[in-house]
């Protein structure tokens, strides 16, 4: 009969209307500033720089190789190499970025910089509340603002960070073993060269 389905439909909407007052589970939205959902592990917003230890200046993994700057499709990364060198996590002397800027108003969150980085130095952040009242200076993030500790990285991307840590530890122990072997070889060869 005409109107039967309309009555059924009205019953459905009425059930939703009253149900949303009774059960909280029905409401899919979250009261944002007070209530927050923890971001998913695969979330990515804008890149950040990882540093080991406590000092962002000293522990920065970035060696200013500029691969990310060249690969960045919208060209939002600007790097100036340092004149001097400092030791990296393996104890090897490396350059470091004197300037490392990312213009997040240009960045398109493609993650290519994080993928190409051979030093696991640049990763994707999950922070999204980045509004600023200055649209030029406020959205141009400097090295100091980009540097985040490895603990932070472990917190936002636990799985990924564990893999990176394992890889770096392996590299480090390999380098150490190599250095030791070299030192031993050196120690062995040096006496031989000594004139008897």
């Amino acid at each position: 009969m005409l109107g039967e389905q309309i009555i059924k439909g009205m019953a459905v909407t009425a059930r939703n209307f009253f149900g949303s007052y009774v059960s909280k589970n029905r409401l899919t939205t979250v009261q944002y500033p007070e209530e927050r959902l923890t971001p998913k592990e695969n979330t990515r917003q804008f890149p950040f720089l990882v540093y080991d230890g406590d000092d962002p200046e000293k522990g920065l993994r970035c060696v200013a190789c500029q691969i990310c700057e060249k690969e960045c499709p919208p060209q939002c990364i600007y790097i100036v190499k340092s004149k001097d060198k400092k030791p990296d996590y393996k104890g090897q002397a490396q350059l470091y970025p004197a300037t490392f800027d990312i213009d997040i108003s240009v960045c398109m969150s493609c993650q290519i910089c994080a993928e190409v980085c051979p030093f696991d130095a640049i990763k994707m952040n999950t922070e999204f509340e980045l509004s600023a009242d200055d649209r030029f200076g406020g959205l141009l993030l400097r090295k100091e603002q980009l540097a985040r500790s490895n603990e932070y990285y472990r917190k936002i991307h636990p799985g990924e960070a564990a893999a990176v840590d394992e890889h770096l530890a392996g590299e480090k122990s390999k380098a150490e073993a190599k250095a030791k072997a070299a030192a031993e070889a050196k120690a062995k060869t040096i006496p031989n060269t000594q004139p008897t």
Partner: protein, 398 residues
């Protein structure tokens, strides 16, 4: 005491008028009555916009607006302060008029909409002795004034010089004229039974009680059918979903007010809601007993509270329907008006006549119920028999 509370606004007005010299009294009395209509109903409009957004939100399992309360404080009032920023926004927005538009007509259209809508409130009895202008041809006046709304719609659509505006106006006028026929024919039944066009008489005829239940016309077979027809037609008259073809956002942007912005758009919005309240008010007066209580033991509640309670209940149903039904197609709209509503309202008029001439008794209940229900089933079947459900066949596109 309850009597005094019921008549408090009437006595206050009389006392206020006493202060003026004799020659002024009639004028001041009219002025006071008139000035309260926009005040009360515009406030109601402000709240209903929030209630509507919250209600639709709840139907879709969302919260709806719940942030803005009293400005500059942390009190939120469940978001009922939302209309203040909304109002400020629409007042301060740039008023864009297209270069090709007919400037004068474009400016006049929202004004022309608001005038008849506000005039319609003149005859509505919103409480005992509370009618701005209670004259003999009240119902006729209401429909005559309501007919002028189409003029404004056409002015808005034509003067904008925009295809969407014109399409929206064409749809609106076709819809409003089609649905005005069942609207008036369903109201005719009440006029036949009461024998008067005066709204005060119509309310008085329903202000009787048997076994403590009121003699509202909606409790009779012809009255129930009449009320449902009236309600559907008033949905179409006030361009509400599912009859919101004139504004169909997904098809023609915003219909006849595509080219309106800022305060003029707000006026259209206001006019539409005030029209909805006015037509709901008439429906209440004709079928739901106006300001009378449903049960005799509740008769002590002030009459204006009953009127506004019924008005809010009807507005809630308007919102509920909007949250449920999708928009009709143009041909479905026309078929529904001319092939279903019009014949059913004609049958309803015959039924009301039979009800009058059969006299009191169970016989007239049985005869009238069967007549209405039979007509409903047969007409409904006829309306649905033409439906071709299934895959849509495109004649030219393929």
């Amino acid at each position: 005491m309850f009597e005094a509370l019921d008549q408090i606004f009437v006595t206050l007005k009389h006392q206020a008028v006493e202060f003026f010299p004799d020659a002024w009294r009639a004028f001041v009395s009219a002025l006071v009555s008139i000035s309260f209509i926009p005040l009360v109903f515009a406030t109601l409009f402000a709240f209903v916009t929030v209630i509507e957004r919250k209600g639709i939100g709840r139907i879709q399992n969302r919260y709806g607006p719940n942030r803005v309360g009293i400005p500059l404080t942390k009190i939120r009032l469940c978001g009922f302060g939302q209309f203040i920023p909304d109002g400020i926004k629409s007042l301060t927005k740039e008023d864009v008029v297209p270069r090709a538009a007919d400037q004068v007509v474009h400016f006049l259209a929202p004004v022309v909409l608001l005038i008849p809508v506000l005039l319609a409130y003149a005859v509505l009895p919103i409480g005992r002795n509370m009618t701005a202008a209670d004259f003999d041809a009240g119902v006729l006046f209401f429909f005559a004034v309501g007919g002028a709304v189409e003029l404004s719609v056409f002015m808005a659509g034509w003067s904008s010089h925009n295809k969407y505006s014109l399409l929206g106006a064409m749809r609106a006028i076709a819809q409003m004229i089609s649905y005005e026929v069942p609207l008036i024919l369903s109201a005719v039944t009440v006029i036949m039974i009461v024998g008067s066009l005066k709204l005060a008489d119509i309310v008085a005829a329903q202000n009787l009680y048997t076994f403590g239940i009121a003699h509202w016309f909606v409790f009779t077979p012809w009255g129930l059918a009449g009320f449902i027809l009236f309600f559907i037609a008033s949905l179409a008259e006030s361009n509400r979903s599912p009859f919101d073809l004139p504004e169909a956002e997904s098809e023609i942007i915003a219909g006849y007010f595509t080219e309106y912005s800022g305060f003029k758009f707000a006026l259209f919005f206001l006019g539409e809601y005030l029209g909805m309240f006015a037509i709901s008010g008439l429906g209440i007066t004709l079928f739901l007993g106006g300001w009378t209580a449903p049960f005799s033991f509740l008769a002590w509640v002030p009459s204006y509270l009953w009127f506004f309670a019924k008005l809010m209940a009807l507005v809630f149903i308007f919102i509920w329907v909007r949250g449920t039904l999708p928009r009709l197609r143009m041909d479905q709209l026309m078929n529904f008006a001319w092939k279903f509503m019009l014949p059913l309202s004609l049958v309803n008029i015959v039924t009301a006549g039979l009800w009058h001439f059969l006299g009191a008794g169970l016989l007239r209940w049985a005869v009238c119920s069967v007549l209405i229900f039979g007509a409903y089933v047969i007409l409904g079947r006829g309306l649905m028999s033409n439906q071709k459900l299934g895959k849509r066949i495109y004649r030219y596109a393929e």
